[in-house]
C-alpha cells in the first residue's frame, strides 16, 4: 500500500492511519508532525457516498449527495465524483487528476448533463468554496505540505488524549487565511480540530472531526463539521458505504465514465 499526500476532495476528510510508533514530541518539528498527517496511508482505491449538509444561521438545511471514487496510480491520484442531488445537478460529474509532482497543477473536468458537454476547468482557484459549502478546495485537502510554514506551538491534553498544537502560516501573504491552528492526536496523527483565521487574524472557521472508524484496517474519518463562526453557518460532511482496496479499474477515471454516470 502506498502512502501519499492528501490532495483531493475525495480523500480530504478520509485521513487514515495505522497506529504509528510513539515518538516523543520534542523529537518532532511542526513540519514533521504535519508531514506525518499528510503521509498517512489511505489505501490504493476508495469508494464512498458523501452527504454534505449546509446549515444556515436560521438552521435551514440544504443537502448535497455525491458518489465518489479515488485511485492512487503511478505518479498521480485520480478521482471522480457523481452528483446525485439536488435534482438540478443530478448526473453532473467532476474528475480530478492530482500529480505527485508538486510543480504540476491538477487537471479538472466537469460534465454538464444538460449541455451534454465535458468542460476542462482551471484548478487554480483553491480558495473557492466547494458547492456553496464552508469547505474550500484547500480545506478539503488540495493544499500542499510546503505551502505553509508549520510551527509546533504546544501540546494539550483534552479528555485524557494528548495533542500536538501546530500553527501553520501560509508562505503566500495573499492567501485567504492568515494562519491555521491544528490539534493533532499524538498517538494516531489525525488532526481532530482546526481553526482558520482570516486576513485580519480573526477566527473565521472551526473544523471538528466528529467521528472516525476503522475500515479495512485504516482509520477513516466519517463525520466532520466546519463552522463559520463569523457568519454562523455550518457544513457537515458524512461518509458512508466506504469501500477500500477493491481493485478499481483505471478506466473508471475517464470522460467516458463522466458522461455515462455510475
Amino acid at each position: 500500500m502506498k502512502t501519499k499526500k492528501i490532495t483531493t476532495v475525495l480523500v480530504a476528510i478520509i485521513i487514515a492511519t495505522g497506529f504509528t510508533s510513539q515518538i516523543m514530541a520534542q523529537e518532532l518539528s511542526g513540519r514533521e508532525i504535519v508531514e506525518k498527517v499528510y503521509n498517512l496511508p489511505t489505501g490504493d482505491d476508495q469508494t464512498s457516498d458523501l452527504t454534505m449538509t449546509l446549515i444556515n444561521k436560521s438552521g435551514k438545511k440544504r443537502i448535497r449527495k455525491i458518489k465518489q471514487f479515488t485511485k492512487d496510480m503511478d505518479n498521480m491520484e485520480k478521482s471522480i465524483m457523481f452528483f446525485q442531488s439536488p435534482a438540478d445537478v443530478k448526473n453532473t460529474s467532476f474528475m480530478n487528476w492530482t500529480y505527485d509532482d508538486d510543480s504540476k497543477s491538477d487537471d479538472q473536468w466537469i460534465y454538464l448533463p444538460a449541455l451534454k458537454k465535458t468542460k476542462r476547468i482551471s484548478s487554480d482557484s483553491k480558495s473557492d468554496y466547494f458547492m456553496g459549502s464552508d469547505f474550500t478546495y484547500d480545506d478539503l485537502g488540495d493544499r500542499k505540505l510546503d505551502d505553509d510554514t508549520h510551527k509546533l506551538i504546544g501540546t494539550e491534553t483534552i479528555d485524557g488524549v494528548d495533542y500536538y498544537l501546530v500553527e501553520s502560516t501560509p508562505k503566500d501573504e495573499e492567501y485567504m487565511y492568515s494562519k491555521t491552528k491544528t490539534w493533532i492526536r499524538k498517538d494516531i496523527f489525525i488532526g481532530l480540530k482546526k481553526e482558520f483565521y482570516d486576513e485580519d487574524e480573526e477566527l473565521l472557521k472551526i473544523l471538528h472531526i466528529k467521528k472516525f472508524e476503522e475500515i479495512s484496517g485504516l482509520m477513516i474519518i466519517t463525520k466532520s463539521e466546519m463552522h463559520n463562526v463569523q457568519k454562523n453557518h455550518k457544513t457537515t460532511m458524512v461518509l458512508s458505504d466506504i469501500e477500500i482496496n477493491t481493485g478499481m479499474s483505471d478506466s473508471k477515471f475517464t470522460e467516458r465514465m463522466m458522461m455515462r454516470g455510475m
Binding site: I121, S122, D124
Partner: protein, 415 residues
C-alpha cells in the same frame, strides 16, 4: 388541441406509474416562463413546460426517454420527444441507437464543429442550449483506447434547422424585388442510404490538452434558396421586366473538416475550434449566377478564454466566419466577426447568481445583451429574472430584432 393535450397528459401519467414500478429513474423540471416586450408591453412569452427524463441504467444496457411538453398560453400544446435511445456498453466501445442530441466542440454558445444536431431557432438563440438542439435519429459508436476516443455517427434521417414562420415576432420576411412563389418540392430529403450523413471524430483528453479532430459528410441544415426570375409585361409600368420569382428551397451536401482544443494556462482556460466547410451555397445578386446562388467554401473558427477569481467567472470568445473566393455580390460579409462575453458571480453560498452574457456583432455594431439574476429558494426551486436586450444596427443579426427586447421571469422546479 385540448383533447390532444389531455391525452398526452394521461399517457405520460400512466406511463410514468408503470415505469416507476420497473425501477426507472424519473427526473426533470416544471417551469413557468413569462416574457414581456419593452416595445409595447405585450406578453411575447406565456409558456409552461414539463420536462421528463426516464432513465434506466444497467451494466451493459441503458435507455433514456425525454418527452417535453410546452404549453403556450391557455391551450396551445407542443409535445416533443427530444430524445429516446438505447445504450449498449461493451469493454472498449459503446453503441447508442435512437433519437439523440449530440454535442461536439469546445466553444460555448456558437456552433462551429457542433453540427450533428440541428437547431430549433424558432425563438432565435434565446432558449437554453439543450432546448435549442434538435434530437437526430442516429446510430453512434464510441471506441475507446487509452485516453482517446473514436466516434462514428451514422445519421440516416435528415433533420434540418427550424426557423420561425410568419406570425412569429422572430420572423423577418426577406425583401424581394418581385412577388415570390415558393416551390417546396425539393426541400424534403427522403431517408435512404444514399441520403445518409456520416460524422467521424477522434478526441483525446490528456493532462496537457484536450483536443478533437472531426470530419463530416453531411447536408447543409439550412436550405439554399434557388431563385428563378420570371419576366413579362409589367402592368403597372407598362414595360417588360421582372414580374415574379420562383423560389425553390434546396439542401446541398456539405463536406466539413475541423477540430477543437482546450487547455489550461495557470488560472486561464483557453480553447479554440475551427471548421472548413466545402460545398456551401450563398445567395448572390450576380445576374449571371445560376439560381442566384454562389458556391463558396468558408472557414468558421472561435478562440476563447475563461478566467475565474473567487466567486466571479469571466469568459470571452472571438468568432470569425470567412468566405473564400469572395466577391461583393454575395449577400453576406466576407468576414463575419462576433464576440461573446460572459460574467457570472455567485453569492450567498451559491444561492444567488448574477450573470451577464452578450453576443456582440462586430460588423454592424449590434448586440444581444442578456443580464439575469437567479435565486435558489431551495435545492429544487429557483426563480430567474432576466432581460434580452437587442441593440444596434438593424443590418446585424442581433440589431434586426431591436423591437423584440424583453424582460422575463422563469420559475423552475426540479424533481
Amino acid at each position: 388541441m385540448k383533447t390532444k393535450g389531455f391525452l398526452i397528459a394521461i399517457i405520460l401519467l400512466t406511463t410514468s406509474q408503470f415505469i416507476m414500478a420497473q425501477g426507472v429513474d424519473i427526473n426533470g423540471f416544471a417551469r413557468n416562463y413569462t416574457g414581456i416586450l419593452y416595445e409595447n408591453g405585450e406578453f411575447n412569452m406565456l409558456q409552461n413546460t414539463l420536462n421528463l427524463n426516464f432513465e434506466k441504467m444497467g451494466d451493459r444496457v441503458a435507455f433514456k426517454a425525454n418527452p417535453m411538453l410546452y404549453l403556450y398560453g391557455i391551450d396551445s400544446l407542443d409535445f416533443r420527444l427530444r430524445e429516446i435511445y438505447l445504450d449498449l456498453y461493451f469493454d472498449n466501445f459503446d453503441i447508442r441507437v435512437g433519437k439523440q442530441q449530440i454535442v461536439w466542440g469546445k466553444a460555448d454558445g456558437v456552433f462551429i464543429t457542433d453540427i450533428v444536431s440541428p437547431l430549433n431557432l424558432t425563438e432565435f438563440l434565446l432558449p437554453d442550449f439543450d432546448e435549442i438542439r434538435i434530437g437526430v435519429y442516429a446510430a453512434k459508436i464510441d471506441y475507446y483506447f487509452g485516453n482517446s476516443t473514436i466516434e462514428l455517427i451514422w445519421k440516416p434521417v435528415y433533420a434540418g434547422n427550424e426557423f420561425p414562420g410568419p406570425g412569429s415576432i422572430w420572423y423577418k420576411p426577406p425583401e424581394f424585388p418581385a412577388p415570390p412563389t415558393f416551390d417546396y418540392s425539393k426541400e424534403k430529403i427522403n431517408p435512404s442510404l444514399e441520403n445518409s450523413e456520416v460524422y467521424l471524430k477522434y478526441s483525446l483528453s490528456s493532462s496537457a490538452i484536450d483536443f478533437d479532430l472531426m470530419g463530416a459528410y453531411t447536408w447543409d441544415q439550412t436550405p439554399s434558396m434557388y431563385v428563378e426570375k420570371e419576366f413579362g409585361f409589367d402592368t403597372v409600368t407598362n414595360q417588360p421586366g421582372l414580374t415574379g420569382l420562383l423560389i425553390t428551397p434546396e439542401h446541398h451536401r456539405l463536406n466539413v473538416v475541423g477540430g477543437s482544443f482546450t487547455s489550461t494556462i495557470k488560472s486561464f482556460v483557453v480553447r479554440g475550434e475551427i471548421a472548413y466547410y466545402n460545398g456551401k451555397y450563398f445567395q448572390t445578386t450576380d445576374p449571371f449566377a445560376e439560381g442566384a446562388l454562389s458556391q463558396n467554401d468558408y472557414l468558421h473558427y472561435v478562440v476563447g478564454v475563461d478566467y475565474g477569481v473567487g466567486h466571479l467567472k469571466l469568459s470571452a470568445q472571438f468568432i470569425q466566419k470567412y468566405i473564400m473566393d469572395y466577391n461583393d455580390l454575395i449577400d453576406e460579409e466576407e468576414f463575419g466577426n462576433t464576440m461573446t462575453f460572459l460574467a457570472r458571480y455567485d453569492a450567498m453560498r451559491e444561492t444567488l447568481h448574477l450573470e451577464l452574457f452578450s453576443y456582440v456583432g462586430l460588423n454592424y455594431g449590434d448586440a444581444l445583451i442578456r443580464p439575469k439574476v437567479t435565486y435558489d429558494f431551495s435545492d429544487s426551486f429557483s426563480i430567474i429574472l432576466g432581460s434580452n436586450i437587442f441593440v444596434g444596427d438593424e443590418r446585424g443579426m442581433f440589431g434586426r430584432y431591436d423591437d423584440n427586447s424583453m424582460i422575463y421571469t422563469k420559475i423552475k422546479y426540479y424533481f
